[in-house]
């Protein structure tokens, strides 16, 4: 069987790649994709712990369902904000959306 460590390390690698995408990219849609990748890495952890530590109640799987719900709501809203940003500023570059900058 698959050792739990391997699952967790895969999830950590996906999370780190998503983190890099969020930090290094400037295009708003790419930053959103990085966030999605991080949320998926967290879901892998939830499901791994549901299977390995709590197979009777599978609470982790229920948690993962709620994470997916919130992630999808977040994508819808974020894309609406990106569309509005593009209409106002004619750009999707986050560095140019600085009108609230101190």
């Amino acid at each position: 069987m698959i050792p739990l460590e391997h699952v967790l390390i895969v999830a950590a690698a996906l999370f780190s790649l998503g983190l890099y995408t969020v930090l290094a990219r400037r295009h708003a849609v790419l930053v959103l994709m990085g966030i999605e990748l991080m949320l998926n890495a967290v879901n892998i952890n939830f499901i791994a712990f549901a299977g390995y530590a709590d197979p009777e109640n599978f609470t982790g799987q229920i948690f993962a369902i709620f994470v997916i719900v919130v992630a999808v709501a977040e994508v819808g809203l974020a894309l609406a904000i990106i569309l509005r940003l593009f209409r106002l500023r004619a750009t999707a570059n986050l560095d140019e959306a600085d009108s609230m900058r101190w």
């Binding site: 739990l4 699952v7 690698a13 790649l17 890099y20 295009h27 229920i62 369902i65 904000i81 593009f86």
Partner: protein, 165 residues
């Protein structure tokens, strides 16, 4: 090593390759396609970890919904005319931060004693069990989640619509 183990390592490699492609590609559209690859790999990983329902939800919602929505947003924001800037000074710092994070997490995972394998007799979780638990023990969070989806729906329409006056 059984077939399911082999499938796990192959699918984990696919999803990490997709994530790597997303992190290093220059084109936003290629980024979306790499994201689809990564999310499908994650769906397969869910399946090898006995979560059939979530694997299906992952394919339907992410590969079918979220990435298509993102491609729509790219089409409407005309990303083709605005290639990603190449003189990005944040990149080395981002690499240091994410590699440092990965190293710290991996070290923590390796030194912690875990239950090594799936318990004997672990089964794929049946859809009917998930539904039963979701509508009894987790009924209140379920209702709150539906309210959240409604609010996000209305909010997205209000934010994205054209000003009419």
């Amino acid at each position: 090593m059984t077939g399911i183990d082999l499938a796990f390592y192959v699918l984990a490699g696919v999803s990490i390759a997709g994530g790597l492609g997303l992190a290093i590609t220059r084109s936003v559209v290629h980024g979306a396609l790499f994201l689809i690859l990564a999310l499908m790999g994650v769906a397969g990983v869910f399946f090898t970890l006995l979560a059939d329902f979530l694997a299906l939800v992952q394919v339907l919602l992410y590969a079918g919904g979220v990435t298509i929505l993102m491609l729509f947003a790219m089409m409407l924001t005309q990303v083709r005319e605005q290639p990603e800037a190449t003189n990005n000074t944040q990149r080395p710092w981002a690499a240091v931060a994410s590699l440092g994070f990965f190293g710290a997490i991996t070290a923590a995972i390796v030194v912690t004693p875990w239950p090594r394998t799936l318990p004997e007799g672990a089964q794929h979780v049946e859809f009917v069990d998930i539904a039963g638990t979701l509508f009894t023990r987790w009924a209140v969070p379920f209702e709150i989640a539906s309210l959240l989806l409604l609010v996000a729906l209305i909010g997205a329409i209000i934010v994205a619509r054209e000003a009419t006056e």
